[in-house]
């Protein structure tokens, strides 16, 4: 849906139906669409997790050092392949 929406066709939905109900397909699709929209927006705002993995409250600068400035992206992996 995020990197090649044209591939989410009737055949793909038929395959999904072997594992998920119609209700679950709507739930998954809406969840994924919501996340595609919001994570790109959030990415432009440049904010990072408030807490370190050990539970400490950290500054945004330290959070960047801990977690990295940009996430490892599925899209980046594919373009590099």
């Amino acid at each position: 849906m995020a990197t090649a929406p044209g591939k989410i066709d009737a055949a793909f939905h038929d395959e999904l139906r072997r594992h998920y109900s119609e209700e679950e397909l709507v739930e998954l699709g809406a969840f994924i669409g919501f996340n595609i929209g919001y994570h790109t927006f959030f990415g432009t705002l440049k904010f990072y997790p408030m807490f370190a993995p050990d539970g400490r409250l950290v500054s945004q600068e330290e959070s960047v050092r801990i977690y990295g400035a940009a996430p490892v992206s599925l899209a980046a992996d594919r373009s590099a392949a």
């Binding site: 849906m1 929406p5 809406a30 669409g33 919501f34 996340n35």
Partner: protein, 179 residues
């Protein structure tokens, strides 16, 4: 026919959801089709439709500008359903098809748009086309024309509507519902 069929109107019995669908139909965006698909998961449908209506039709950014942005994004998402829908409220307020098309074209050189409107169109355009360009400099420029609240209003509107357009695209080519 969409890949996931919409529920029949009579199968939707939740009064709150029915009222939200009626509000969608009154605005025209979305029409009844997308809500009737979402209605398979009523709790999701209510949360998402309420957020879509609020982000599009309420707040402190001009609804006509949001409608131009919404169509720009739907065309970019390749979603024929949301691309063809139009807000009745925006049309009643004077928005025309020429302005909608201009918002999806070379808007930066179009004298019908103010500098603030051009900037909002660029914010939406680059959010998904080239998000690396939505940087500190662009936010600083946005703050010259919009309050922080208006920038969050625009960003949240853009993110939610684009996300739902991408989802709807994968459900298959669909004509807006007949009224």
């Amino acid at each position: 026919m969409t890949h996931v069929a919409p529920l029949a109107p009579e199968a939707i019995t939740d009064p709150e959801l029915r009222e939200l669908i009626a509000r969608c139909e009154e605005l025209g965006v979305p029409d009844a089709l997308f809500p009737r698909i979402l209605a398979r998961v009523p709790a999701y449908a209510k949360a998402l439709l309420r957020a879509m209506l609020m982000s599009h039709a309420e707040g402190n950014v001009d609804h006509r500008l949001k409608e131009i942005i919404r169509v720009q994004l739907a065309r970019f998402a390749g979603d024929p359903y949301f691309s063809r829908l139009r807000s009745r409220r925006a049309l009643a307020a004077g928005l025309d098809e020429a302005a909608i098309d201009a918002g999806s074209g070379d808007y930066d050189d179009d004298p019908r748009f103010t500098p603030a409107e051009k900037l909002a169109l660029r914010y939406a355009d680059q959010m998904y086309l080239d998000p690396g360009k939505v940087d500190a400099a662009l936010y600083a420029e946005l703050k010259q024309h919009y309050s922080e609240a208006q920038i969050m209003e625009l960003g949240a509107f853009i993110a939610l509507h684009y996300g739902m357009q991408v989802f709807m695209r994968t459900l298959g080519t669909a004509e807006p519902a007949a009224r």
